[in-house]
């Protein structure tokens, strides 16, 4: 990489305290319960690219989204924004405006009592990018046009728009601070398929035109296939496989990645009969010992039950799996 990574996570872990209330614990003498939402996660995002994190519920991708944008401080490890610690970067308005976020729920991400123009203008006013009302107005107009809406839409309230249009407003708001880096937390998961296509196309266009860098969070592998340059597959807080998207999709190495790819109903394979891998998603509060995936893994052996696998390279891809390391995954 010639230019510094936009975002770098180094051995990041994050714990949530999910203990019972203090008074209750006093009487029952229960210990504190900690939920390890993110466990020793490391990745780098090169400028102008899209790095996707993929996984199911409880895998920690949403927590990473919030860590990446500085809403939480990691319990352990470091997050660097252009080689500076994220927390100090965020303390400077000049750097803080270079990152922003797009959310999943088009209905909860816009304040129902604010007009659209005020919603989009908030970052402009917060960072004093423009101060005179007509300047602000002009910028809002440009932003709305950029996402396929009109300045007249600015006069309306969010409830007058459909889900897809609200996501566009969300994107316009995120772009208002003129960021370089956008964290996209499941931006199309709540949208219909045809609307999703519009939004994904819009996001790719904007990335090309404005040189944006995306951290793209999703549970939908097909969407990730379309958007990502590099991706990380997460399971119960760890990244189990990480590397160039093409490589991972073509030859998935980790058994969980294979399970995920196999589980997705495929349009091209009409009427396919298959035997999906059984087992449930374990609870992040009490993860299985050793490799968290071992109860569901067809390749699990004794070592997997006691020892957490380290990240090893397998070609261009980084995998955390004993079977891959030992060459058992054939």
């Amino acid at each position: 990489m010639t230019k510094p990574a936009v975002l770098e996570a180094i051995a990041v872990s994050h714990l949530f305290d999910v203990s019972r209330p203090f008074l209750q614990r006093m009487f029952t003498r229960e210990p504190r319960r900690m939920l390890r939402a993110v466990d020793d996660v490391s990745f780098e995002i090169a400028p102008g690219t899209t790095f996707a994190l993929v996984g199911e519920s409880g895998c920690g991708k949403s927590t990473i989204a919030r860590l990446a944008v500085g809403l939480y401080e990691p319990s352990d490890g470091d997050i660097l924004f252009e080689n500076q610690p994220l927390s100090s970067a965020r303390a400077q308005p000049g750097l803080r405006r270079r990152m922003n976020m797009i959310f999943q729920d088009p209905y909860a991400s816009l304040n129902p009592r604010w007009r659209v123009s005020d919603i989009v203008a908030e970052p402009i006013r917060a960072f004093a990018i423009a101060t005179r009302p007509n300047e602000v107005h002009a910028r809002v107009g440009t932003l709305l046009a950029q996402v396929g809406l009109t300045i007249r839409d600015g006069e309306k309230y969010p409830h007058e728009f459909s889900g897809g249009q609200r996501q566009r407003i969300s994107i316009a708001r995120a772009l208002a601070s003129e960021p370089d880096f956008l964290v996209c937390d499941e931006p199309t998961s709540a949208l219909d398929v045809s609307v999703q296509a519009q939004i994904l196309n819009l996001m790719r266009d904007l990335q090309k035109r404005l040189g944006l860098t995306y951290l793209f969070i999703s549970h939908n592998l097909a969407v990730v296939r379309h958007m990502a340059d590099r991706l990380g597959v997460m399971y119960l807080g760890r990244i189990v496989e990480q590397g160039p998207a093409e490589a991972i999709f073509r030859t998935p190495r980790h058994p969980y990645t294979r399970l995920l790819l196999d589980a997705i109903p495929d349009l091209e394979q009409v009427g396919r009969a298959r035997t999906p891998v059984g087992g449930e998603l374990p609870s992040p509060i009490a993860p299985p010992p050793g490799c968290a995936f071992h109860p569901r893994c067809p390749l699990a052996n004794d070592r997997c039950r006691v020892e957490k696998p380290a990240h090893t390279m397998a070609g261009a891809v980084q995998v955390a799996c004993h079977a891959v390391e030992e060459g058992r995954d054939g």
Binding site: E56, S57, S162, G163, G164, Q165, D192, V193, S194, V195, Q196, A197, Q198, L200, N201, R204, H219, N220, L221, A222, V223, R225, H226, A245, E246, F249, L259, L260, L261, D262, A263, I264, P265, D266, L267, E268, Q269, V270, G271, R272, R274, T275, P276, V277, G278, E280, L281
Partner: protein
Amino acid sequence: MALLDVVDLTVEFPTRRGVLRALDRVSFSIDAGEILGVVGESGAGKSLTGAAIVGLLERPGRIAGGQILFEGKRIDTLSAEPLRRIRGRRIGMIFQDPLTTLNPLYTIGRQLTETMQTHMRLSDSEARAKAIGWLDRVGIPAAAHRIDAYPHEFSGGQRQRVVIALALCADPVLVIADEPTTALDVSIQAQIITLLKDLTRDHGTAVMLITHDMGVIAETADRVAVMYAGRIAEIGPVAAVIRHPAHPYSDGLMASIPSLEHRVDRLRQIDGAMPRLDAIPNGCRFNPRCPRVFDRCTTEQPELLDAGATRAACWLHAHD
């Protein structure tokens, strides 16, 4: 004779701004043992269709026209009590959210036995034995022990399995499943779909599978009906609709789904959005967004026309 025959079903919602027509002359049929997928985006009316068939339309919605024939007899004109009997015994229902389907205050064993005993003559011990059998068949481990557990003691996927057992335990001939896997994680979805497919094939139960997920339909259904703004846009065998869609909407829909196999530069998108119920365009409902629109589309609404392997409500296939 088809198991379920829906003819020109029309559902309306009177509001103070006028009457909104949510379903407009929807017609389709389901044969015994077949799986019909009903797919569409939000607001297309697919859930309403399922609800209307079993008489669970929420007020002030009402059936304003058409007929629903089940096993040859009309059920849309039945009163509440006879309809309720059919609903449990002959038609099973699976809804999206297992948390609200299952009563949190009763054990799942009680809910299963209660359902069975309401519709079949069984002693308590017979019902309990059958219930354990069902839990086993839907893949709940240690069924004999878990039968006395409460819904909150199960995971989301397991709860949906219980819901499937509940729907099938009275041995219905038709199951209406409304988004049965949408609330579940991807890896669990796969298990539930396979389970549903296997069980219904084993018992010869017909399924009306309502979902927005085209992939689920591709894997599970025999035929599929694509709905748009309260009407059926296209209906036919699954492979035909997916690989050679005859309606521009189905075509656009299939093309906008990103593929796992390869990455394209731009997904094909359908501009605009589905019309709201109070702003339905004249002629074909899809005409403002259709890339192949011509004059007739803006004035006359097409019925389902023969389009080779499928039937599509599109003037492109008019043979006159």
